[in-house]
């Protein structure tokens, strides 16, 4: 009958969890006990048999069956700028945005490929890619260099439109909060111009006068802000970034 400690050492050996001193102890036991050697061989073979059992393949229809039954929370409305532009002429897009018709919350996918097909001068979002040609005045900027989060945020003005351009790299999931109402602004839309890592579709929310955006990996996107009331001047927009609920950065942009 083997001692409990011997069995524990044998099992730890099978799991590759033996310390050096335990290994020496087990080696000594194995050398002197045929029963221990037999037990180790049997348990090792059992472990190998179980490890080598083939993986089972789930039924092909399982994913669809789960999807058919799940009830997700109601999603915020989202729009594709690509789809929008295919149904509107470029000039109409620009007019619609300027008129505030796109104030409905939405994520506007804006890829360089799409932009090649339209007149940049007529789409407000293109100022993100090339601000110099859009008669956009840069008002202020922030440089972020915190553990896990780095990049820039730029505030620009184009007439009554304020544009916050983010170019951020975050190792972990970061939540960016932007205070809108206290700056006299309302949310107009988001245009993402570059992304790697997480594609953050739907990872935004506007509530209580604050816009929250979930960011991860490298993401460049612009937030379009509309003046909610009379431009009082001396505008201040507070930006906060947190990861896993803990604040890592806060700053103010003045325009």
């Amino acid at each position: 009958m083997l001692e409990q400690q011997t069995l524990e050492l044998i099992n730890a050996e099978i799991d590759g969890a033996l310390r050096a001193d335990e290994r020496a102890q087990l080696d000594a036991i194995l050398e002197s006990s045929a029963e221990a050697r037999a037990m180790k061989a049997e348990l090792q073979k059992l472990a190998n048999l179980m490890d080598s059992m083939p993986e089972q393949t789930p039924p092909e229809e399982l994913t669809e069956q789960i999807l058919a039954r799940v009830r997700l929370p109601k999603r915020h409305p989202t729009f594709s700028l690509g789809a929008l532009m295919s149904s509107l002429q470029p000039a109409q897009v620009g007019l619609a945005f300027a008129a505030g018709l796109l104030v409905t919350m939405g994520v506007y996918e804006l890829s360089p490929g799409q932009l090649a097909d339209v007149d940049p001068a007529s789409v407000v979002g293109t100022m993100v890619l090339n601000p110099d040609v859009q008669n956009v005045n840069q008002a202020d900027s922030l440089t972020i260099s915190e553990p896990g989060v780095a990049g820039t945020v730029t505030l620009s003005a184009a007439g009554k439109l304020q544009v916050l351009s983010f170019d951020l790299q975050s190792a972990d999931t970061a939540e960016i909060s932007i205070s809108l109402s206290e700056a006299g602004l309302s949310f107009g839309g988001i245009a993402r111009v570059a992304a790697s890592g997480l594609a953050a579709d739907g990872s935004y929310e506007v509530s209580g006068g604050t816009l929250r955006v979930i960011n991860q990996g490298h993401q460049a996107f612009s937030v379009f802000l509309l003046e909610a009331g009379v431009d009082a001047g001396g505008r201040e927009i507070s930006i906060g970034i947190s990861t896993h609920g803990a604040p890592v950065f806060s700053g103010v942009l003045r325009g």
Binding site: L7, E8, N11, A12, I14, D15, A17, A41, E42, L43, K45, L46, A47, L49, M50, D51, M53, P54, E55, Q56, T57, P58, P59, L62, T63, Q65, I66, L67, R69, V70, R71, L72, P73, K74, R75, H76, A171, D172, T173, L198, A200, D201, G202, S203, E205, I214, Q216, H244
Partner: protein
Amino acid sequence: MVESRDFALVERCRRGDRQAFEALIREYQRPVYNVACRILGNPDDAADATQAAFLKAFENLDRYDPDYKFFSWIYRIAINESINLRKRTRELRLLDENQPAAGAGPDSTVEAGDLAHSIQDGLMALTDDYRTVLVLRHFSDLSYRQISEVLGISEKTVKSRLYSARQLMRDQLIANGIEL
């Protein structure tokens, strides 16, 4: 980075993003299904338990604690669903003693091969606690620490259960004429 990716996908699910939900299912349905298969010994029941686990997980996304890995959370739910399903089917069998036991015949076991059959039968003869820890170690290839996270028990308890479970499996296979 898997953890942060999963966390981001969970965040998107909470906002009603169906694609994120589908991504999580596609990532984890195979390992979850395999755990369920080994605990239940029956592919049909395993599919039901997998489905129930994902539905329960997504109904309770608000309770998901991002300090824990998503896979630990979904594994734990799947194990509980599997054990509960096994209890229910046992109770039903007691009501109808003529019905064959799940996992008892070659058609209802996971593999048809004799050795594979014997191993699955050996698993099914263990208590839920012992079977679960063996499945997580040898069929899901989890470490002591990962098993402790999934089951919410200490690593010391994981080792103790695992070592006892192996011993019982070994005794049972030898008693059934399997040469080790």
